[in-house]
Each structure stands twice: as structure tokens, then as C-alpha cells.
């Protein structure tokens, strides 16, 4: 075990080196680029024995990932924003073909207006593709989540997207513990596919045309796999904790037990919210945070249990479904019968400080509208 000060992009790359994928098709895009550079370096230096494919686009990156994963090997790729959008149709195919690809997405806003800065719209709009989606809070979470994603995906047979906030995490250095290879070997042994994979000695086709006799069943199997992944994620995070000592889950519940108001959020913003909660708790205010780590599967039962005693919920979204509020807000509203307010924050890299978090808490105590855009110049109509 070594602790080093590094960016989350470096932490992701270290995790990939430990997970030992055999094929890495990747196309660079800000703010993901340094992941593709670190991995190219590891392969060139002989530190990682993988086929590094310099594809000509993200569409090809995901297509090559599918082809490689279809042969039954471990695969890694990474992208961001427009690149993820360009992958869109292939993402559905990867999930439908049940390929356990792991991808990092450096969360970045979508054009137009063109922005290289952070929000989560890029991965949110891929939520129905059938991928598992984990949103990480810091560099350590990024590293650990990659290792867990392989283990989870290879059991569930659905691909995993590990989402990390662009710049806020990808370009921030902080201490990150790199686990020993021997520990990782114990947690994540080499991948041995059990089911359908391409093998010259045992020929078969993958991803064939499916007529109306079978299509619905195939889709239902994805639905079932997503449902079953809840238990698998809980099992894998427990195994991770037993070996590495760090506790993860579908959610992280921070001071929720006696909270009157619970904030619900994903990603790096959770840290700032915890800072604000610590201050408010010192003043006797009962505020809690439910951090969603897993957005897909959406852990409905776990959320309902955590918020059951809260009077109000405040949901923070770095995405907008026009006319409907943010994505998490909509999910919460559709599954929970609770007084809930939605807040749109941090689009296109707008900074979120304790002032904005306090404003959200105040606006939840004395609400004037269901969905509020925070920090909007000129205010909201």
C-alpha cells in the first residue's frame, strides 16, 4: 500500500493498471485525456500488458470495446461529454449484448453552448442504455470504484460506467491510497467468461438480429439483471471492505438518522455538502445527506429506508430534463411519496460553494417553487 498525491484521472489509471484489462480502445477528450495518456504510457513502458488501440473516434472506441469484450477478455475505455454522446448507440448494444466493459466518464457539460466544464448531463442522458452507473466523490472513490466495477459487471453481465466530475476531480490532486497488487489479485482475479464469447474452437454469433419472438425477453433479462445487481453490488462492496478496509455501498448516508431535511446528491458535491452539514450540526440543525453512489441501478428501497423519518427532501441535480427538473429529482418523485424539492446546480462548471448549499437548505425550509435553479444570473421567472 502506498499513498500518493495524485489527480482522480491518475487514480483511475492506477486502478486500471491493477485490474489488468487486456484491451484498451480509447479516444482522448478533455477532461478525460490524461487517463488515455497514462494508460498509453503504462502499456508502452511494459507496466501493463494490454492491447492499446488508438481508435479514430469514441464510436469506434466503444465498438472495439464490444468486439474485444465479446472474445471474453477484460476491457477498459474512458471518455467524456461529446465523446460519450457519440458512443450513444453503441452503449445500448454493449449492454444488450451483456458485455462487462468498464468505462470511466469524466463528467462534462454538453454543447451548445460549448463547455469543457463539469456537470453530469452527459452520463445522465445515457442512464437508460442498460449500463450500471456509479458516481464517485473523490480520487480514492474513483480508484476503488473501477476495481469494484469489474467485479460487479463480470457477475451481473452488464457494463459499468464510473462517473467522475470533470476538473473538480479529474484535475485535482489529493492523497490517494494505491492498494497492493496482491490484495487486488485476491479481490479481482483474472476474468474468466462463463457464457457466450467468441472462440475460434467453439464458434457462435453475438448480437444477431432478433425477431419479435425473442426481443422482449432479451430486454426483460436486462431489466432483471439490473434488479439483481443491487444484491451483487452490496456483496461486492462488502468484500471490498473486508480486503481493503474502505466502506462503500449503493448510497452513503451521512447524518440521516435524525435529520429533518435530507439532501440527495451525487459525485464530488457530496464533500462540500458534508462540510456544510458539519457546520449546521454544530449549531443544532438536523440536516443529513444521502449520497447516491449508484444511480443505475437506482436503489429505491435503500433510499426509502434512509429518508423515512425525514420531513423534507432536497434533491441536487447537475442535469436538466427540460420542463421536468433534474434527473434524480424525477426518479425520487416517481418512487417516493415525500415532500421533495429539486435544485439545478453547477451546470457547465458553475462553482458550488457552501453559500449555495445553505441557500438550498433555506429554500427547502421555506419553499416557493418545486424546482429552483441555484445561482442563476438574473433569477428565475
Amino acid at each position: 500500500m502506498t499513498i500518493k498525491v495524485m489527480t482522480a484521472n491518475k487514480a483511475i489509471s492506477e486502478a486500471v493498471k491493477l485490474a489488468k484489462p487486456q484491451v484498451i480502445p480509447v479516444y482522448p477528450i478533455t477532461p478525460q485525456t490524461s487517463i488515455s495518456e497514462y494508460l498509453a504510457q503504462y502499456v508502452a513502458d511494459g507496466d501493463l500488458d494490454a492491447e492499446y488501440i488508438r481508435v479514430e473516434s469514441e464510436h469506434s472506441a466503444m465498438s472495439a470495446s464490444m468486439g474485444a469484450s465479446g472474445t471474453g477478455v477484460r476491457v477498459f475505455t474512458a471518455t467524456s461529454s461529446q465523446g460519450l454522446m457519440y458512443m450513444h448507440e453503441v452503449l445500448y448494444a454493449a449492454a444488450g449484448m451483456r458485455l462487462p466493459i468498464v468505462m470511466a466518464d469524466a463528467n462534462r457539460a454538453i454543447s451548445a453552448p460549448l463547455s469543457i466544464w463539469n456537470d453530469q448531463q452527459d452520463s445522465i442522458v445515457q442512464r437508460d442504455a442498460g449500463w450500471l452507473q456509479t458516481y464517485v466523490e473523490n480520487g480514492q472513490d474513483a480508484l476503488d470504484s473501477i476495481l469494484m466495477a469489474y467485479k460487479i459487471s463480470e457477475k451481473v453481465l452488464l457494463p459499468s460506467m464510473v462517473c467522475l466530475d470533470g476538473f473538480i476531480l479529474t484535475h485535482t490532486v489529493e492523497p490517494v491510497e494505491i492498494p497492493d497488487e496482491s490484495q487486488v489479485k485476491k479481490f479481482l482475479p483474472p476474468y474468466k467468461p462463463k457464457h457466450a464469447f467468441l472462440d475460434p474452437d467453439w464458434s457462435m454469433s453475438l448480437g444477431t438480429l432478433t425477431d419479435p419472438e425473442y426481443y422482449m425477453e432479451a430486454r426483460y433479462q436486462v431489466e432483471e439483471a439490473m434488479e439483481k445487481s443491487i444484491a451483487i453490488i452490496n456483496k461486492v462492496t462488502k468484500e471490498f471492505e473486508d480486503i481493503f478496509g474502505r466502506k462503500y455501498g449503493l448510497t452513503e448516508n451521512y447524518m440521516c438518522d435524525d435529520a429533518d431535511i435530507i439532501l440527495i446528491a451525487m459525485g464530488s458535491i457530496a464533500s462540500t455538502i458534508k462540510e456544510v452539514i458539519n457546520d449546521l450540526r454544530a449549531k443544532g440543525e438536523k440536516i443529513g445527506l444521502l449520497k447516491l453512489r449508484s444511480y443505475r441501478p437506482f436503489p429505491v428501497k435503500e433510499i426509502a429506508e434512509t429518508v423515512k423519518n425525514a420531513k423534507k427532501l432536497a434533491v441536487l441535480d447537475k442535469s436538466i430534463l427540460f420542463g421536468m427538473g433534474g434527473a434524480i429529482y424525477n426518479d425520487i418523485k416517481s418512487k417516493l411519496d415525500k415532500e421533495t424539492y429539486g435544485f439545478i446546480v453547477g451546470l457547465g462548471g458553475r462553482d458550488i460553494t457552501p453559500k449555495e448549499i445553505n441557500e438550498i437548505i433555506e429554500k427547502t425550509k421555506s419553499p416557493v417553487r418545486d424546482i429552483t435553479w441555484i445561482g442563476l444570473k438574473g433569477g428565475q421567472q
Binding site: V5, I116, F167, I168, T172, V173, E174, I269, T272, D351
Partner: protein
């Protein structure tokens, strides 16, 4: 928690300096964090970078608005960027300048360019200013700064930069 804001121009190494400082602070046994201002970086354009140092894990995930220290890599920036913005009452500014007379008591001038030219032969001043900061603030040890400089720039370049940082340290 100690918060440091760097003002530089693209290419002067403000981001690298912020990262070296964070790594050195970690080396001293603290928690630390460093990140660039999330801007599009162009050579010569005003840029910012930030470092936080704390004895506890750092939760703050936003830019630094009320710094304890400001480090200015180029005195020309005082005209174009609000380097004083949010500076705490007891805070101070280290500025690379040849002008020893400064308008406020909280500004500590150092001829980092002169030290760099003498010791490196080129006007690269980020490591020089880290040496000056270590002495001025006492928030980070010179040993750790030098260790990380050598890690960041292996070989002769690291050696020379370490000497320059030490000269700056001793000049305060």
C-alpha cells in the same frame, strides 16, 4: 485549514507550483489538495491555481475565494487580476517583483526572476516562489518542497530548481 491562491500567466507553472506545494504539505504529514482554476489555459493569459492544506481530510470542493496567502508569479497581473480578492485580514501576498516598495504592508516582494536567472539561467520562477513561501509562511518545510521538486523534475533540472528554492528561502 490554510488556503493558498496562485496567480500566474499560462506557461509560468502556477498549476505545477500548486501541486508541488500540496505534495510537499502531504510529505510533512498534512492532508492537502491542489487544482487549477477551471479555465482554458493559454500561454500568457492570466491563470489561477489553488492549494489547501489541513490536518484533517479536506471536504471543500470549490474554488478558493478567501485565501490565507496569495502568490503572484508576475507583478504585471496586479493590473489585470484582482489578486487581493477575498484575502483574509491577517493574510499576505508574496509577489515576484523587482519593485521593493509595495502599496500595502501585507505584500512581500521578492525578486524571483532575478534568483531564477542567477540559479537556473532561465526566468522560471515557480519553484523559487515555493522556497520563499516556505520561509515566509512556515506552513510547509523547505525539505519537503525540495524533495518534491526533485521528484517532479528528475536529474539536473530538479537539482538546479532545488538550489533556487533554497536561495529564495534564505533570502527572506
Amino acid at each position: 485549514m490554510i488556503e493558498i491562491r496562485f496567480h500566474g500567466r499560462g506557461g509560468q507553472g502556477a498549476v505545477t507550483a500548486a501541486e508541488i506545494l500540496a505534495k510537499a504539505a502531504f510529505e510533512d504529514g498534512n492532508y492537502s489538495q491542489a487544482f487549477p482554476h477551471f479555465g482554458v489555459e493559454r500561454r500568457g493569459a492570466p491563470v489561477m491555481a489553488f492549494t489547501r492544506i489541513n490536518d484533517k481530510p479536506i471536504l471543500s470542493r470549490y474554488q478558493i475565494y478567501d485565501p490565507d496567502y496569495v502568490i503572484v508569479l508576475d507583478d504585471g497581473l496586479v493590473e489585470v487580476a484582482d489578486v487581493f480578492s477575498g484575502l483574509k485580514d491577517e493574510g499576505s501576498i508574496i509577489i515576484n517583483t523587482q519593485n521593493e516598495k509595495q502599496p500595502k504592508d501585507c505584500i512581500y516582494p521578492i525578486d524571483a526572476t532575478g534568483i531564477a536567472l542567477e540559479n537556473l539561467g532561465v526566468p522560471i520562477i515557480n519553484t523559487v516562489l515555493l522556497g520563499a513561501f516556505a520561509k515566509h509562511s512556515g506552513e510547509v518545510s523547505l525539505n519537503s518542497i525540495i524533495k518534491i521538486i526533485k521528484e517532479t523534475f528528475p536529474g539536473k533540472i530538479g537539482e538546479k530548481n532545488s538550489v533556487a528554492a533554497k536561495v529564495a528561502y534564505d533570502s527572506i
